[in-house]
Amino acid sequence: MERDRILLAHGGGGSLTRELIEELFLPAFDNPRLRPLEDSAVLSLKAQNYAFTTDSYVVKPYFFPGGDIGKLAVCGTVNDLAVQGARPLWLSLGVILEEGLPLADLRKIVASIRETAVEAGVEIVTGDTKVVERGKCEGIYINTAGIGEIVTPRRLGVAEVRPGDAVIVNGNLGEHGVAVLSRREGIAFHTSVVSDCATLWQLVKVVLDAGAEIHAMRDPTRGGLAATVCDIARASGVGIRLQETALPIGREVRGACDLLGLDPLTIANEGKVVVFCRGADAERVLSAMKSNALGRHACVIGEVMEKPVGVALLHTVIGGERIVDVPTGEDLPRIC
């Protein structure tokens, strides 16, 4: 491992591959399920229901303010489990490395994966490494799949939301997208915004334990809050009305969006959860959220109505109303 860059041979399945796994990956993630380095991990399941999800990460650049692709690859998958009401247990980790990737960068990313996994309470139990020729990928791509144990007796889902529900978010919107864009080659601008990238399980757990009637949770990643409310309005056959004055959007995010012609509602988040709960339970959820560091700025941002069916609306600052829609184009490629 004295060489300082990834070579094609690191992915050849020979001695360099073994070296990479044994010296870099295994020490970082060591646990009884990974340690045998068998072709698959053996897991013992006891609960009745499990959540299973996968996501791929191609963020560009792979280091960004507030995180990196490794942290993102854990948070993203763990959060997808969490919002389903599942305690995250195990992750798989597939990495595709570009020939020439500095080993120092890979070490940093692996350390970040480890740190985030520990924080989220998940184990990396199986993995894979491939190397592609220089120019065939940008540094590193990661895929993670995750398994979590469903801990909530009530079924949560995008189709469970009903009129009268409150819409609650745990904090400021749009920070991940703006942080990544601010370091993007060709756009780079100065901002102190950092990605909100964080594992949400602890926060979600507090919310689930608060005794509120929760109907759905979503992490508003790609497509932002707009995509989340549009999906839910459609799937549940309800109308959703957001209040623009209630939306937590920081000045710098707003400014960057103005500059780039973007709608902060469509910008990706990586540490946010949108909770749809019975209207009467909104206070309960809010105070539960606020007891957690990631929920300090939690607020009610809207309500669910019977009509218009399948549509999300925004009540604007000046008292007008407009549709909330998702972007169609490639406004923000490679954001996660």
Partner: protein, 358 residues
Amino acid sequence: MNALVSTINELARRVGRDVRLMEVCGTHTMSAFRSGLRQLLPSNVRLISGPGCPVCVTDTNYIDAAIALCRRPGVMMTTFGDLVRVPGSPSAGGSLERERAAGAGVRVVYSPTDAVALARDNPAKQVVFLGVGFETTAPTVAASIVQAAKDGIRNYFVLCAHKTMPRAMEALLHDREIKIDGFLCPGHVSVITGAAIYRFICEKYKIPCVVAGFEALDMLKAIEMLLAQIADGRAEVEIEYSRSVNERGNIAAQKLLAEVFEECDAGWRGFGNIPRSGLAIRAKYAQFDAAKSLGVKFEAARPHPGCRCGDVLRGVITPPECKLYGKACTPTNPVGPCMVSNEGTCAAFFKYDRKAAT
């Protein structure tokens, strides 16, 4: 805020007839839709969108020429993002986005200076920047040409279709199909040009003009100012956006424009040729002019039959009156430029104002 709306209502009552106000700036279009501003206006005041989206007013033959050019070996096409999805004429096929997917060198940049840097880094390529836009973007393109000249970069070219706003506004006033009672003048353009450029509209045509900023409140205030002028029977240039705009504008930017460009006639989608409404690269900088240096031909082009972007741009119809709107033409599968651009009226309508499935 409420006070402003009630003043507007009061003025509208005083005017006592139907009033059509036109904004000619894509950012105004978006701001109006995003804020739901139209719903706050009295029933006899209509805010209509004009030719304010630079991508939308660009003639189809320009898109066709760009598509043909990017297919040439050795050409690296650079452009602002909005342009890549605009469809060319059906016979030219596709869009720059499709050409890129098929392997052509098409890059989205955020500033023409990035294109100059690409030219410097890729000396074997002919780097072409698509110069589209009004007085707001033209100075940055002028600056990129001056910089390329200064640095001796010989492989940077601009395919120039820049346009200027005042003559298009005048053309609208000559159009019998449209009746305009006042202009909400573009804030960004006016930062560069100064507000004085609209004076001839007030003097010659007795149409009030107010330069407006981009917040919904700016626009409401400007509408109030326009209605006050109409109620009083005045026609003046007033500046609502006084925190950024003055009478004279940005002299340095104007000098830069005059250094690189000269006035020319220009073809506008929906309008046809408008005399003295375009900017052409001066002979002094001809080597950077893609049309001259690379021998680009602009062939007569026919946009998609049935596409009424031209009528939308002139404010003759609203998007839902076009038969293609929302059916054959959607943001995912656009037929005309007004459905593509972030600042396009059809895209804004579709995104923010389509009738909910209630």
